[in-house]
Amino acid sequence: MPDLPLIDPRAARPIVFWDALDRLADARRQAAEAEALSRRALLRGGSAAIAAGITAAALPGLAYAQAPAAPAAGAPATPGQPTVIDITRARVDPIPIAIPEFIGVNPAGERFGRDIAGVISANLQRSGLFRPIDRSAFIQRPADAVTAPRFADWRVINSQALVTGRVEAQGDGRLRVEFRLWDVLPEQQIEGTAFTSTQQNWRRIAHIISDRIYERLLGEKGYFDTRIVYIAESGPRDRRVKRLAIMDQDSENHRFLTDGSWLTLTPRFHPSTNIITFMSFFQNRPRVYLFNIDSGSQQVLGDFPGMTFAPRFSPDGGSVVMSVTAGDGSNIVQLDLRGRSVRRLTSSGAIDTSPCFSPDGSQITFNSDRGGNQQLYVMDSGGGGVRRISYGEGRYATPVWSPRGDLIAFTRFGGGRFAIGVMQPDGTGERLLSEGFAVEGPTFAPNGRVLAFFRESPAGARGSGYSARLASVDITGFNERALPTPLDASDPAWSPLIP
């Protein structure tokens, strides 16, 4: 796997980077327009691009379906729509769903069909909200179900929903994937969509289908068509090699983005482009950088005499908030990405760090020891109206605002233990989700239902037994799982849904 060398940011021409940012922003805007178009087109039975290089078209209902085909995703619920399952209920009682292999129209399509169904099944299973039914229990053959589901056969194995599909590997290297979601009890099609893309995109199609299923059955957006950027760690603890790395949310398509020459920390995604902000010790000058995932180019952000750290993009993507050391403390500043103007938001003399915007951009939560030890605060986005929100036992750090706006997740520590928790933005309703010797750095999936964080084990003699791994957990503390990575891992950041 080729590693991208770390480029001297002073050698890179800034204009190149900003052009890239503008281009990506344009691409994002076009994608949003295309998506809006595609929804209208799908409702009319046409086809349109739904993501980079992927088009979707509504499938007509099958004649034997008892009810007319439901409109495509995004359309308002109508009578005849499936009963949306409450997520609280699904946690206790995961939705039983049958996901036979997608049928291959040709031999190459058969392989993709098997793999796509496998990815969908694994995604839904991992969410903890679905229970894919063992395929050995299936009565009707998938090849028959794809044209005419015999609902009684799926009811008897207690399947509430059925997913069927056909895959054609076309001569021109493209892949056509038909997918239908069926509500077994009322015997009707919930959704039918055909996706066309290059064969390399088969995993993304599987993730997009998984998101459709999640959204249609649970009434909330999914989070499967996403990626996670994090810090890959290797080597002895006192000379740890730390590299930027990225992977799909299911740990696939893993790649390293930097070669480990310099310590790198705390990557975070731009809300709508393939750009990351992170911290690098490049040439022993610890500073915040931007990194373009597509081109590998990077650039130092701002020109400050001291260390800059703890960066995070604003929700509109136009600026970064971060800490800048000042005297014995650190201030929170906001740096405009185009004009590069800097606005100082705090100057308490204390350590003010880990700033994170509310999703509407109106407020910022951050971490400060201004009251004596680390606690969480919220202020208006201009820096006024500061109020403390954490009052429990111990110290609080790394606040992150949920994309839904309803919760702030944090790291809490004291008494020799660390915990990941959530509270409401006014500081009430604190709940701990996971605890351990060391857990840190929560990051929300774009639907605000799942968090990732990292967990370290204590080190024994000469550092033996130490590990750092990623984990995910539902915001209720349910369904904690390892997020597999090739090496040790820390500082995860979940992407938005991929544009």
Binding site: G306, T353, P458
Partner: protein, 154 residues
């Protein structure tokens, strides 16, 4: 590269210090005639390159002052030497906060040396937070060695 070799040397000396309480145990790297005056080896072996802090504090402890006083005297003796002062934290804190805490500790060392007559221009600072522990075990014995300010000859 030179820095890496030197910090490896410093680490070896520290490990040696962990295992035998005698600070004069020569051994690693100290060739015939001892370290070159004004070098990192000289600083480590004959002066002391680091001081230690209490948990979540950046005040120079009274018991650590003699080391910094020796460093100031040494710097006055070797007027051509410039230092990078590294601030470090133990693992019992969050990454971003610890970066700022490490900076405070580096500042505390620098300010002490400046107050003892060393020109600020000779002293740069950097913080590694909790990301470059000197001692790798998860116990107070190691943590107390990791909450440190280290002077490195540039």
């Amino acid at each position: 590269m030179k820095l890496k070799v030197l910090s490896l040397f410093a680490a070896l000396v520290l490990v040696a210090g962990c295992e035998s309480t005698s600070p004069t145990a020569g051994g690693a790297g100290a060739g015939a005639g001892g370290p070159r005056p004004g070098s990192q080896e000289d600083l480590v072996v004959n002066v002391g390159d680091r001081i230690f802090f209490d948990y979540d504090r950046s005040v120079v402890r009274p018991d650590q002052r003699p080391t910094l006083e020796r460093q100031a005297a040494w710097l006055k003796q070797h007027t051509g030497v410039a230092l990078m002062v590294e601030g470090h934290a133990d693992e019992r804190g969050t990454r971003e906060y610890n970066l700022a805490l490490g900076q405070r500790r580096a500042n505390a060392v620098r300010n002490f040396l400046v107050a003892n007559g060393i020109a600020p221009a000779r002293l740069q600072t950097i913080s590694y937070g909790k990301d470059r522990p000197a001692c790798t075990e998860s116990n107070e014995g190691c943590w107390s060695q990791n909450r440190r300010g280290v002077s490195v000859v540039r």
